[in-house]
């Protein structure tokens, strides 16, 4: 890669760049290792971003959740503009907020931003967002009717001022959330991660005689921007439309997405005009979040190899009518907005398949399904999250992987860890035969997962599912994937999105959707079909 007008030669820049990335990864490891909730420690639902003093991202943790990575610089820029101007930050400050419009689109995602000082001057910021196990209100999920049922909202506030903790805020948090040990423990883990990142950055600066981050930030941001612009320039100009339907509440009130993507020279603009209005269920997404999940598949398509930072986003514009499903306004409920965000890649890839069919994948069996259990175990209240993923979409040159997280990137909670934390017994976890969409290349299989409440008390359960009414859509004549399903034994109604109880002895059986196919099934290689049959992927 050629980098122009920087003080760094290409070798020095590549070394410093990879070190910046290892600094944020190391901070991420600290967060994961010192956290308490399964959502952070087992499933990796967090991100760390290093930013310059303008709030532009320079480096981000490697395998994190894309939405958080996209949102952190937007949050920090907003903090600087409207809440804490540059000159008001002091060494040892830590700012916290979970305001959905500033941060990651729903209250459980807590943003923690720390300033970085070097020899007395502010040189940048490091921020983390992690999904906190609880923020009060109703149990997290799609069960809330408005924003206020979704718990506590903390506007941007100094959680720590020049090293001194804001005891009032900690106190309020502690008295408003379930299993406070976990929520507070995770917030402390976020602070620890920021501190770790700052310490490592100081070492890097000292070793390389750097007094400031600005030149380095300019160099990496310019390089990433340039790579993105060059890739866009190589794509055919034009206007590409796609429309797409999703479950909505899963009970007949679905959602509709419309996208128009304009590629014009080295810029790209995605517009969601025509998309459904706000949904009564808490699945509405704020524009920050929509931007992050629209920019993400664009980055995957055009510039997957160059490390991501602010520069990758400059050529990308995302717009949506105010008040619609993907640009929600107060007081629309937002709790389960990830269900909507996780769909945007389908819409973006669908449109881009018309421009650059060799650079996109078919639809995945997303969104990621989330299950939250709450109750008492061994005399202590718990909130236990776990995630299940569907099949991955087929690619232009290969099949989709079975059961893989996309577009988010969260791991499952090991069965043995789940059974340690909660009185449930898992009865099956297996690949779901015949669930993938056929095609020249087939999608990946979904999964079947079931568990029983083996405790003596009912468990509060919040369930978030998708694609039980609408399938993953095949592209370029590829077939759709199989839809998911929810069953409870003994049989009764169970909301696909929302709150319920799982009574002792009841078993919940979930089948997750398969990924969609790419290209015409009649072009599929015969050996591949035979192999799928031997392995029981197809019957």
């Amino acid at each position: 890669m050629q980098v122009t007008e920087t003080k760094f030669d290409p070798i020095a820049l590549s070394i410093l760049w990879s070190r910046l990335i290892s600094i944020v990864d190391e901070a991420g490891t600290t967060l994961q290792r010192t956290s308490f909730s399964t959502v952070t420690r087992e499933s990796n639902d967090f991100a760390v971003v290093l930013m310059d003093r303008k709030g532009r991202s320079i480096a981000q943790s490697s395998v994190s959740v894309p939405s958080f990575l996209g949102v952190l610089p937007i949050l920090t820029k907003a903090l600087l503009k409207d809440y804490f101007p540059l000159e008001t930050w002091k060494e040892g400050d830590v700012v916290m907020t979970n305001d959905p419009w500033l941060c990651a689109g729903h209250k459980p995602d807590i943003g923690i931003v720390s300033p970085i000082f070097h020899e007395g001057s502010l040189i940048g910021f490091i921020g983390t967002i992690a999904h906190s196990p609880d923020m009060g209100g109703v149990l997290w999920g799609a069960g809330s009717r408005d924003l206020y049922e979704e718990g506590l909202m903390v506007p941007p506030t100094k959680l720590i001022s020049e090293g001194k903790p804001n005891d009032t805020l900690f106190n309020i948090l502690e008295h408003n959330v379930r299993a406070a040990d976990q929520t507070i423990g995770d917030i402390r883990a976020q602070i620890a991660a920021n501190d770790q990142g700052i310490r490592s950055l100081m070492k890097l600066m000292q070793e390389n005689d750097l007094t400031d981050l600005q030149d380095l930030a300019d160099a990496v941001i310019n390089a990433s921007e340039k790579a993105m612009r060059e890739a866009l320039l190589a794509a055919p100009d034009g206007s590409y439309q796609y429309s797409y339907d999703t479950d909505g509440d899963g009970l007949g009130n679905g959602c509709h997405f419309e996208i128009t993507i304009n590629i014009n020279g080295d810029e790209i603009h995605a517009d969601y005009t025509g998309t459904s209005g706000a949904h009564p269920l808490s699945i509405n997404a704020v524009l920050n979040y929509t931007f992050a999940y629209t920019a993400y598949p664009i980055k995957c398509t055009f510039s997957p190899d160059v490390p991501n930072n602010d520069g990758s986003f400059y050529p990308i514009k995302v717009t949506a009518p105010k008040g619609c499903l993907v640009n929600a306004q107060k007081p629309s409920p937002l709790g389960a907005r990830n269900i909507t965000g996780n769909m945007l890649h389908s819409v973006v890839f669908g449109a881009l398949a018309k421009a650059v069919p060799e650079q996109v994948q078919a639809d995945c069996g997303s969104a990621c399904w989330c299950i939250v259990l709450n109750g008492e175990h061994k005399g202590k209240e718990f909130v236990e999250y776990f995630f299940l993923n569907g099949g991955y979409g087929a690619r232009p040159n290969m099949d989709g992987e079975h059961v893989l997280s996309f577009p988010t990137n969260v791991a499952n909670v090991p069965i043995e860890v789940l059974e340690t934390d909660v009185a449930v017994r898992v009865t099956e976890k297996s690949l779901l035969q015949d669930s993938a969409g056929d095609g020249k290349f087939r999608g990946g299989l979904g999964q079947r997962f079931s568990f029983v409440n083996v405790g003596e008390k009912p468990l509060n359960i919040s369930l978030l599912t998708e694609k039980t009414q609408t399938p993953a859509k095949g592209i370029l004549e590829g077939k759709d994937g199989q839809m998911g399903s929810i069953q409870i034994i003994p049989e009764r109604e169970f909301p696909p999105k929302g709150l319920d109880k799982l009574f002792p002895g009841e078993e919940l059986i979930l089948t997750l959707p398969g990924g969609a196919g790419y290209g015409n099934p009649s072009d599929r290689n015969k050996t591949a079909i035979a192999e799928d049959r031997i392995l029981g992927y197809i019957s």
Partner: protein, 689 residues
């Protein structure tokens, strides 16, 4: 007299230590495929003939091999089945559902070692506390046994849910299989890796089964042939933690051999560090296919339990199969003498990670290899001597090297052959220095505070360049630099490590139970050492526990107080935990309960003493100075560079760089602006200015 034998991808190395005269002897042969014992006995024969030491006179042999790693990478293991709790057969394939690269939509996940049609469920269930919920179904075991026979299965891995809490069902299956399918190998997760998290435990167990038949056959052949040749001493096998096991131990848990060669290199680094009074060293080991860097801090390498084998995207974290076994923490880089150089699709010169290995080998081997490699570049630049490779046993062709570099690189790039060769040399050094730097930094240390020790067949050729990039002040090229891993085998202790996973809160521990299993684990360790002739009184016992704040998911390792444990130890354990936690994370949490997760007992024999006086591969010349030859350095271009014979160098001899120092197994390149001195024991010490 003790012999170390290390089978690498390209060469098999031999180090013999004669404790009667404190001399070291070295040999190197090409690794033979498909049967590596051929190469071994070629080498043994060479040692017998050259130095007149018959193998039957030796008291001990220590062996390490890449066999296991290669079987996993190349998917050349046995036909393996996998048995688990019914309903969970796909856990091994589903993994953790997470991607290792978030922007690459074309990524592929590692295929499981056992395909879906060979994974079977048995009706049984144990809960998390170890209570039997569903007894194991004896009838379904019968069906399993016949299915295994019908499919011609050679090995089976068994991993049942929660088996770390209650091993009885796995044991029952093991008994049944050994009785009804006696010719088949089986691995039980409760013996291989008795720790919580079913996917990681399944992965290790399946891998152990997968490599067991070939390792077992190989080790049996190796031992039989050794005994036939009259050898009646102890045979030990090097494992990934830098310790030695017995042949039986290796046959039972072959996955512990995954990193045996690299671990040997690190242990040699420990030995030389102690010997030279260098407590903190960066070991740099470069062979035919990969390079490794390892940190030795205060005389010890760090051991980690996080390891992956068979990565699908080479060197990309998360793209391999997890194996939670104790491994010396080292970073592996796809850069070796055989690494192939090419011009990539955007017109840039790249080197590796793929290697020409020993067949077809670098172009200069003249064995039909057409791709230019790092070795070809080193030859063109004058670093290697075409007539003195492996002491002249293998003739290299400068013409073939030049031709490969010219056609594949220099012409397409429009540069000279020398420039292209220098480009290869520099890029490979840069790749290695970057990786080593990140590895040191990830440990929170500063690479400039470390001196470097360079070894491996290609290590001494590239160490100087890498040291320069890392701003290292001093570089040591030890005696036997071309065969260091094998040398490390001779200075590693025999040890056993026992693991017990049992989660309990620190304040509610049943100390009687803890003392009882710790004693059992310690006694097992003593018994193991006895098999290698080590008495209980000579053993060192190290007991640790992995613990965390209650509710966390990741542990840190704390050394347990000595002797019998009871309530009065709680304060001391808490203190140790808080100290370590604060060291790592700069803080601790007040009033939070702590819990113990995994208990480990290492029972270790003494570290073998080796007082090296001198080393020999034959008769040394009178004068070390052999004349000059044209050698290319970046700063100067070609110049007439002095060449020395390493064997003839005298203790305390001094000269300035640039210089080339030749020995049979390797060549040391000394760049400009440096001074060289030979220490008392003939190690080469290079100071970079």
């Amino acid at each position: 007299m003790k012999l170390g034998i290390d089978i690498g991808g390209t060469f098999t190395d031999f180090v013999l230590f004669n404790n009667e005269n404190n001399q070291l002897y070295f040999a190197k042969t090409l690794t033979t495929y498909p049967d590596p014992t051929v190469g071994i006995f070629n080498g043994i024969k060479e040692i017998e003939e050259k130095f007149n030491f018959p193998v039957k006179n030796m008291n001990g042999i220590v062996h390490g091999t890449t066999l296991v790693t290669n079987a996993v990478i190349e998917r050349k293991g046995a036909k393996t089945a996998f048995i688990t709790t019914k309903g969970f057969e796909d856990v091994l394939e589903i993994g953790r559902e997470m991607r290792y690269d978030i922007y690459d939509i074309f990524l592929t996940m590692p295929k499981p070692l056992v395909p879906r049609n060979l994974r079977m469920g048995v009706s049984e269930r144990v809960d998390i506390h170890g209570n039997v919920v569903t007894p194991i179904d004896e009838n379904s075991m019968e069906n399993l046994a016949s299915t295994l026979k019908e499919n011609g299965i050679e090995a089976v891995g068994v991993c049942l849910l929660n088996s770390f809490a209650n091993t009885s069902h796995e044991k029952r299956l093991g008994e049944y299989l050994s009785k009804h399918v006696p010719e088949m190998y089986y691995s039980l997760s409760s013996e291989i890796m008795p720790e919580i998290r079913e996917y990681e435990r399944s992965s290790a167990t399946a891998m152990n089964a997968y490599v067991q038949p070939i390792t077992d056959k190989y080790l049996k052949d190796f031992e039989t042939q050794l005994r036939k040749s009259g050898f009646d001493g102890n045979v030990n096998i090097m494992i990934s933690s830098g310790r030695l096991t017995t042949i039986d131990g290796a046959r039972k848990s072959p996955i512990h051999l995954l990193e045996s060669g690299p671990a040997g290199g690190a242990m040699a680094g420990v030995f030389f560090g102690k010997h030279l009074g260098e407590e903190n060293l960066l070991c740099f080991d470069m062979g035919g296919t990969t390079a490794k860097a390892c940190v030795i801090y205060e005389g010890e390498p760090e051991i980690t339990n996080h390891f992956e084998a068979g990565r699908v995207k080479r060197f990309k974290k998360g793209s391999g199969l997890p194996v939670r076994i104790p491994v010396i923490d080292l970073i592996e880089i796809g850069a070796g003498g055989g690494s192939i150089a090419r011009v990539n699709n955007i017109g840039l010169l790249t080197v590796g990670p793929d290697s020409a290995s020993s067949t077809p080998g670098p172009a200069c081997y003249n064995l039909e290899g057409e791709d230019p490699t790092v070795t070809d570049a080193d030859l063109v630049l004058g670093y290697l001597n075409a007539d003195y490779f492996l002491g002249g046993e293998m003739q290299l062709s400068v013409d073939a090297a030049r031709k490969a570099i010219e056609t594949k690189l220099a012409k397409p790039l429009g540069i000279s052959i020398e420039e292209a060769a220098m480009g290869i040399h520099k890029i490979v050094n840069e790749n290695m220095a970057n990786a080593a730097r990140v590895h040191v930094l990830e440990k929170g240390m500063d690479p400039r505070h470390f001196n470097m020790i360079g070894f491996g067949g290609a290590g001494p050729v590239h160490s100087f360049g890498v040291a320069k990039l890392l701003n290292t002040k001093r570089l040591i090229i030890p005696v036997g630099a071309g065969v260091t891993s094998a040398l490390g085998f001779l200075v590693s202790p025999v040890a056993s490590e026992k693991i017990h996973s049992h989660i309990m809160e620190l304040n509610r521990i049943d100390w009687k139970e803890v003392n009882s299993f710790l004693t059992d684990m310690t006694n097992d360790g003593y018994a193991f050492l006895e098999q290698s002739g080590i008495a209980k009184k000579d053993a060192i016992v190290n007991r640790v526990v992995e613990m965390r704040y209650a509710g966390q998911g990741h542990e840190i390792t704390i050394e347990l107080p000595e002797g019998e444990l009871n309530e009065s130890c709680i304060a001391e354990i808490e203190k140790r935990f808080i100290k370590e936690y604060e060291f790592r994370y700069n803080r601790s949490i007040e009033g939070m309960a702590m819990e113990m997760v995994t208990w480990r007992v290492v029972v270790q024999g003494p570290t073998p003493e080796m007082k090296v006086k001198q080393f020999s591969t034959g008769v040394a010349a009178e004068d070390a100075y052999k004349g000059t030859r044209k050698v290319y350095f970046e700063e100067t271009g070609y110049l007439d560079c002095p060449v020395y014979d390493r064997y003839a160098l005298k203790p305390h001899e001094k000269f300035d760089g640039p210089a080339i120092i030749e020995e049979t197994e390797s060549t040391t390149v000394v760049g400009v602006n440096s001074s060289v001195q030979v220490d008392n024991d003939k190690n080469i010490i290079i100071d970079l200015h």
